[in-house]
């Protein structure tokens, strides 16, 4: 069991953001010590690290909620869990293919610069023609 400051350090999420997540219901209400302070466990470190990554990968909080529900709602039927996972999977694969295109272009640029040749950057074209 740890206080909010330790949780913040271990998860990489700011204290204020943790309290914000509790307020808007992304995290459940934290347990409180006798003095009123929030106390957390290892479970919360993992959950917050997950949220941090998901947000950084471009998922909005609504999708994060959906992904969390996938794991944390055992009463969810197999059908709806699978539907939910499939929908998120589509979004993930779309991001993957666009990131691959962008990576290739950035790599090409760095390589061409190493060779001392004049720069000729096409990052915009690389992504702009995608679906």
């Amino acid at each position: 069991m740890m206080p909010i400051g330790t949780l913040a350090k271990q998860s990489g999420v700011h204290i204020e953001t943790i309290r914000y997540y509790e307020r808007v219901g992304v995290l459940p209400k934290a347990l409180r010590a006798a003095n009123g302070r929030r106390i957390y466990g290892q479970q919360d470190v993992r959950r917050l690290a997950f949220i941090r990554h998901a947000r950084d990968l471009g998922f909005e909080l609504a999708s994060v909620r959906a992904l969390l529900a996938l794991q944390e709602t055992p009463e969810l039927s197999c059908k709806s869990a699978s539907d939910l996972a499939s929908a998120q999977l589509l979004a993930v694969e779309s991001r993957l293919s666009r990131l691959n295109v962008l990576r290739d272009e950035l790599k090409r640029m760095v390589r061409s610069c190493k060779n001392g040749r004049v720069m000729d950057c096409r990052v915009i074209d690389a992504l702009s023609t995608m679906v």
Copy 2:
């Protein structure tokens, strides 16, 4: 040449967002017709589509500016262009590896659901243990 509404439709970016981008300097001031209305070309369609993808992939506007500068600032030295591209490349590869982990886990879930087996989701663990 097209008005802002057509640009919005072709790029997938809202009219208000286009004007916002101009205001904050992500887009240059648009040309104006005699009546004061903004006019755009095919170039702007590509640029906006690029911004839309980059934002959706989790880049903030500051990074988008950097990526745009890469392409649109010819006076940028090869060294600084390469540095900029390398930095963005790191961010892209980090996102790619995390998305791959997330995709594998989502795939595993959908597959296990198809087999009618009880669901056992580890999306949180998949991402939470990553750097």
